[in-house]
């Protein structure tokens, strides 16, 4: 079926199989930050923004994104680099496989929550799994990042 959508503000028009998942479509277009870490909609690695809201691209049909704007990690270079520095400074990453989805959700959280508590941060990010770490480094990085962000 014919579709038209925007990925990182660039328009894509395609004839797709109607059961194509957004994750597979995005990867076919070269957006390799979008990863599949599980088969059960649990890990959060495939997180992208659909009209600014974080969604699981593994649980979204491309048809649902028809006419809408999708943002992947590749489309948010500046913000990603800024937060990525905080992650690196805290030594938060080990293998880094879960980082793109995690960062996309942190950026969505920053937009949505005002001055969140630690509990609110944990609840917002609990759908992003990391199998290397204990999340402590990430939490330190987020707190420092949000402190800085507040000063803007």
């Amino acid at each position: 079926m014919q579709i038209k959508l925007w990925v990182n503000n660039k328009v894509f028009e395609d004839d797709i199989a109607v059961d194509t998942l957004l994750i597979d479509y995005l990867r076919s277009k070269g957006f390799y930050s979008v990863k599949r870490g599980c088969e059960t909609a649990n890990c959060g690695l495939c997180t992208v923004h659909l009209e600014g809201k974080p969604v699981l691209s593994c649980s979204t049909l491309v048809m649902k994104a028809n006419g809408l704007h999708v943002t992947t990690l590749e489309g948010m270079q500046e913000e990603v680099e800024e937060f990525g520095t905080f992650l690196a400074d805290e030594g938060a990453e080990q293998c880094g496989f879960c980082s793109p989805g995690f960062i996309m959700n942190v950026l969505a959280m920053k937009k949505e929550l005002v001055n969140p508590t630690e509990l609110e941060i944990k609840q917002y990010l609990s759908g992003n799994l990391c199998r290397c770490t204990g999340y402590m480094g990430q939490l330190r990085a987020i707190k420092k990042y949000l402190e800085i962000a507040k000063e803007d």
Partner: protein
Amino acid sequence: MFTIKNYVVAEDLAQAYELNQKKNNIVLGGIAWLKMGERNIQTAIDLSKLGLDKIEEDEECFKIGCMCTLRDMEVNASLNSYFNGAISRSLVHIVGVQFRNCATIGGSIYSRFGFSDILTLLLALDTYVELYNGGIIPLSTFKDMPYDNDILVRIIIKKDARKVSYFTHRMSATDIPTLAVAISKLEDKWQVVLGARPQKAMLVNKAETILSETPTKEEIDSLVDYVIKEVKFGSNMRGSKEYRQILAKVFINRGIEEISGGTYAN
């Protein structure tokens, strides 16, 4: 994963209903559960252009469109100014924000999952479902009806001043519940709902007669005895029947205490 041959963005409910009469056609919710199966779908029916993603309210009730996401319900300030914010509390542990931005209330309630948090909670409120063909019926009736070809259009929650508590036990923060217990009290009437037993949620009808307005220790014990004797609990990988019975006892005590303003001593 499923396959879909044709995809129809419904122009109105009449068209959606007509398409849904064929066995191999299906109405799409958030697809998070659907994609776990292997169905071969002839025609997928998309209701997302019918304006059914909103939470509307009037003086008497909230009307929640079937395509409203679980996340939209969780963060809706007006909806959560009722029932001690229990709607939000029942949703917050479901996988993650990204998942709840996909999953729809229509998909959750139509499916009547055994593990459903929100079905458990809504059964403790004065909740109805609006079906395209079947009209408006109580959720407590709908939850035991067979899966048919009707379309769940809206969830209707009557506004009242009931107090509500909600407790679950989970193996990890974002797992499905091992047991879910919702308790509500409106004037002197108590409602106790047990979900994830692991069978689908059910109302303990006897609670209303066993519990007085301010329940005594004896009344609560007698309700717990009744629940353990009469309510069917089962075993699965998340917990045994006996473990769930112990959890039920604790949560019933805590829920009643929370509403009556007592302590957690149990």
